[in-house]
């Protein structure tokens, strides 16, 4: 990438064949009975994915879902696409191989907070760093569901669970902060119960050419019910949720005189940190305008840190970062092409003979 010719992303999804007729959500439903607990947030995400995929107009056979282990990882069985339910934590690695070998596929990874951030943490960060063209849906319910209720790497400190009767001793991961630190080119957060927001974020992720991490706050009504209530209860959410829209001032809270929120996010001149202000007392002049396409992830990271890990108060949702960057598999394919241009298509007989040979006559 030279400075004169900045990187131009390929047209999103350009390599993936399109469907020859319009599709509906029904086309994406498999014949398998969905076996999540009644009331599980996973149902909402499944419906949203099945509902919005037809919009992309991609050939269904070129879509593949790969998952690890956990409640959410049963997801591929319910999608009438190609799919693999693999082993705990390894879905990003398996999907990396699939995507690198097959650029004509739209590859989705479905994972949970334990799968992606505990046992599979290494694969997640490296997939993001490499910018493999994967859409990673991280269902975060802040608990282990399938193993029946142990704390997870996103559980709040002090969480009392079956394995932590006196409270968890650990500081939780903030998946958005982690992904930004791992050089992700697309990072977003959304909530299972907000179908419109969820769909919008999924669409943005699908259209991003490169790895996309979407953290979906998902309610486990059996083992961690109400974990995101502060973000869902209309009254509390006004104060707790910071909705980010690219190009819009970062405002939230109760409506102020101009119709936007009565709180805003500014950069503190002395410390450089982000801070929340009352519009009424400090005005709107210094309020940051959200730029998801900023060259560095610095401000996106700062925004992700506004959330209180214990209470989730002031949690930003939406697309925090979306920047073009060459994908791993495109560059890999380019190297293969260049090698052929430079040296010609491989000749097996010439390779095997090598340079130094001798002949034995019969």
């Amino acid at each position: 990438m030279s400075t004169e010719a900045p990187f131009q992303p390929r047209t999103p999804l350009a390599l993936i064949p399109t469907a020859d007729k319009p599709q509906t959500a029904k086309d994406f439903k498999s014949d398998q009975e969905v076996r999540w607990c009644p009331g599980c947030g996973d149902y909402a995400v499944l419906a949203a994915v099945q509902g919005f995929l037809p919009e992309l107009g991609l050939a269904r056979e070129n879509i593949t879902f790969v998952s690890g282990i956990g409640c959410s990882s049963r997801f591929p069985y319910y999608m009438n696409t190609y799919g693999m339910h693999s082993i705990h934590g390894r879905a990003p690695a398996i999907a990396t191989g699939l995507a690198a070998a097959r650029r004509d596929l739209s590859v989705w990874v479905v994972t949970g907070d334990g799968d992606a951030l505990s046992i599979g943490g290494n694969h997640l960060i490296h997939a993001l760093r490499r910018n493999v063209n994967l859409k990673i849906l991280l269902f975060n319910n802040r608990i282990y569901g399938l193993t029946k209720g142990q704390y997870s790497p996103t559980s709040e400190t002090g969480k009392v669970t079956k394995s932590t009767p006196m409270g968890s001793l650990e500081t939780p991961f903030n998946p958005v902060s982690l992904a930004l630190g791992a050089e992700a080119s697309f990072v977003a957060r959304t909530v299972d119960s907000d179908r419109k927001h969820l769909t919008g974020v999924l669409r943005a992720a699908a259209e991003h050419h490169g790895s996309a991490l979407v953290e979906i706050y998902q309610n486990c009504n059996i083992f961690n019910d109400g974990a995101f209530e502060v973000l869902k209860d209309k009254k509390q959410a006004q104060e707790a949720v910071i909705r980010l829209e690219h190009g819009e001032p970062i405002r939230f809270g109760l409506p102020a005189e101009d119709g936007l929120g009565d709180k805003g996010v500014v950069r503190d001149r002395e410390s450089g940190e982000l801070r929340v202000i009352d519009v009424a007392t400090e005005g709107t002049d210094d309020i940051l305008v959200h730029n998801a396409h900023a060259a560095t992830p610095t401000t996106a990271f700062a925004l992700s840190r506004l959330a209180d890990p214990q209470t989730l108060h002031r949690t930003p949702i939406g697309v925090l970062r979306s920047v073009p960057r060459p994908t791993y598999e495109d560059q890999m394919a380019d190297q293969l092409e260049h090698a052929v241009e430079r040296r010609g298509k491989g000749d097996l007989a010439a390779l095997l003979a090598g340079g130094d040979t001798w002949t034995v006559a019969g």
Binding site: Q32, N62, I63, T64, T96, A101, H126, T357
Partner: protein, 631 residues
């Protein structure tokens, strides 16, 4: 050196003809002994000798200089006839420092030649390795023919014209030694000069300095009185069938086997790998062949290496992962997944000394049981093991054939000795290579009761029990696979007890049913009552030992197993037809355990776990003892 024939003189010096020679180059791990040995080997190969090599180096990149653990050596055995091993005891030792002398002198037979770099024999260097006095000045080397050569000084002197510091110039002393040995054994020199020019293409002055040192070493042999005799070893013409030959190491043959398998199967090759000794060279080699459509992925860890390979296989690529024992341990769960998914996948284990980190640069055969049984649940995997460096090529093709035909992960078990050792290899003609093409399923394969056509991902081929391989992108065949037990046929999740029983047994039956060639028994007398059986890299030493026993009149039969799972169909019958079965292994008897369990035959183990290959002499004695026992 069994025969010495005076061949007259080269200029003013005598030339003797030998039928075989074993040379060991030994020095500090920074002295470039592996390069020196490699170059001498290449020259030897191009002369047409048969040869076999044994590189032996520490795991540390630069172990403390001048110490015993820091000694790196390269042994090459070359002959005018067919040979099988790098040789038990060197005829010639090149010792670049006191540590190299001390570490290796015990392996030399009396009368061997020793060329020592006297410049390195300072009192400090001697003390470092525990020499109380200088062995070059007492009688401790009296039984040997010692050439005391100030290699460093002579090299520095030769490079006076170059603007190099003494230290820099001294680094070329390995090329001086190579030049000297090349003179002694009449090796051609053009290739080495060309090699140095290419290696240092970006620094021509360094290339020229090395070539100057190399020539100076050659000239030193030619002129100095100390080297009165030089030796010829004629090409091993009758040892080889007609054809084009090259020198090849096991890892290179294996990498070429993979490239060839990709071409022959017409599938894109995808290697997912994490660097590990002694397997990394395969990753390095394959990464050079992108113009064959080869994709190499250096993963974040061993698990991701095999995961990516399996993901690529799901997508229709020829998925391969390369590793050594510790890496296999990490990959176990994914191998189990591949067994359950029934996708083709190649797992290449270049075995090294274990357990744990063990001896990274030394050889061992102790991963057999790990490959065979090292997974949760009943997870059978076919295992193929090459016997020689050159055979790593054909074994790779065979492993790929099994993987593609039976839609299963397959183990290829090489080891450090095969990986780094080299031998002449007949380059196969294109027409000799197998057709590895396979079929993807592109249409529904099952009709439901209502007449509708569907795709069943686990509907099996009746003969091979393989399931169909339908890759993403194939319209109408969308399906889901996973590690949860599934119903045979439909592939839907199933916890049904009878179905699980059926699936466990059908996966086992599929692997048991893999067709592999019978073992062939070599028994020229037809009267042997003792059978020697081996697998993997012990082939060379076992065969050499069997020849010795037979030369002394002993009647011994020999066979070698190349498919460890399933075992060849005739093996049980073969084992039962001898009074005594001996099985040398570089482990504590892993194949012996398997054979005893399977065939109830009293297989006797001969085991060694030194990190080094067996010596032919040692095996020959053991075989003779068994012969005496049986009589």
């Amino acid at each position: 050196m069994t025969t010495e024939v005076n061949q007259g003189s080269r200029d003013h010096k005598d030339v003797k003809r030998l039928d075989r020679v074993i040379i060991r180059f030994a020095g500090d791990s920074g002295d470039g002994m592996q390069l020196t040995g490699d170059r001498f080997t290449s020259e030897t190969a191009s002369l047409g000798n048969d040869l076999s090599t044994l590189p032996n180096f520490p795991a540390e990149i630069r172990a403390p200089a001048g110490t015993l653990p820091g000694v790196s050596s390269f042994q090459v055995h070359f002959a005018d006839h067919d040979i099988l091993t790098p040789g038990d005891a060197p005829n010639v030792l090149v010792a670049m420092n006191p540590a190299a002398l001390k570490a290796n002198v015990g392996d030399l037979p009396r009368g061997a030649e020793i060329i020592v770099n006297t410049d390195e024999f300072s009192s400090r260097a001697l003390a470092k390795v525990g020499y109380a006095e200088n062995p070059l000045e007492n009688d401790s080397l009296d039984g040997y023919r010692v050439h005391r050569v100030p290699l460093t000084t002579l090299t520095v002197e030769a490079l006076k014209a170059y603007e190099l510091t003494r230290k820099e110039a001294g680094r070329s002393k390995n090329m001086f030694a190579l030049g000297l040995l090349s003179w002694m054994y009449h090796r051609p020199t053009e290739n080495t000069e060309a090699f140095l020019r290419a290696k240092f293409a970006k620094r021509p002055e360094i290339a020229e300095a090395n070539i100057t040192a190399f020539r100076a070493g050659w000239n030193f042999g030619e002129t100095t009185e100390d080297f009165a005799v030089s030796y010829e070893v004629a090409p091993a013409v009758s040892a080889f069938p007609a054809g084009t030959y090259r020198n090849i190491s096991g890892n290179l043959a294996l990498a070429y086997g993979l490239v060839a398998a990709g071409q022959l199967s017409e599938l894109p090759l995808f290697l997912g790998s994490y660097p590990i000794t002694p397997a990394s060279d395969v990753l390095h080699e394959l990464s050079k062949h992108k113009n064959f459509g080869v994709r190499t992925f250096q993963a974040e860890d061993e698990i991701a290496g095999i995961g990516a390979a399996l993901g690529a296989a799901f997508g229709g690529a020829l998925g391969v992962t390369t590793t050594s024992g510790p890496g296999v341990a990490l990959k176990s769960e994914t191998i189990g997944l591949a067994v359950s998914l029934e996708l083709p996948l190649l797992i290449i284990d270049i075995q090294r000394g274990g357990p744990s980190t063990g001896l990274p640069t030394k050889t061992e055969q102790a991963d057999l049981l790990q490959a065979m049984y090292g997974r949760n649940g009943e997870a059978p995997v076919p295992i193929v093991a090459p016997a020689t460096p050159g055979e790593c090529f054909t074994a790779t093709l065979e492993a790929v054939r099994i993987a593609l035909t039976y839609r299963t992960p397959v183990f290829l078990l090489s080891d450090g000795y095969l990986a780094n050792g080299s031998e002449p290899w007949r380059v196969p003609e294109q027409s000799e290579l197998p057709d590895l093409r396979t079929r993807f399923t592109t249409a529904p394969n099952h009709t439901l009761a209502d007449g509708s056509e569907v795709f069943w991902p686990y509907k099996r081929d009746e003969e091979t029990l393989a399931r169909p391989w339908a890759v993403p992108g194939t319209p109408g065949l969308e399906h889901r696979i996973g590690g949860i037990e599934k119903q045979d046929g439909t592939g839907n999740i199933s916890y049904d007890p009878a179905n699980h029983e059926h699936m466990v047994r059908v996966r086992q039956a599929k692997v048991d049913g893999v067709t592999v060639p019978d073992v062939e028994v070599d028994d020229p007398s037809g009267e042997a009552r003792v059978l020697v059986l081996g697998w993997g890299s012990t082939y060379g030493p076992i065969t050499a030992a069997v020849r010795r026993v037979r030369r002394d009149g002993g009647k011994v039969a020999q066979t070698h197993v190349r498919s460890l799972n399933p075992l060849p169909a005739n093996l049980g019958e073969v084992l039962r037809s001898y009074d005594r079965v001996l099985l040398p292994e570089m482990n504590l008897g892993q194949l012996a355990t398997m054979l005893r369990a399977r065939y109830l035959v009293d297989v006797r183990s001969l085991t060694q776990v030194t990190g080094l290959p067996f010596k032919a002499e040692q095996l020959a004695s053991a075989f003779k003892e068994a012969l005496d026992d049986v009589h």
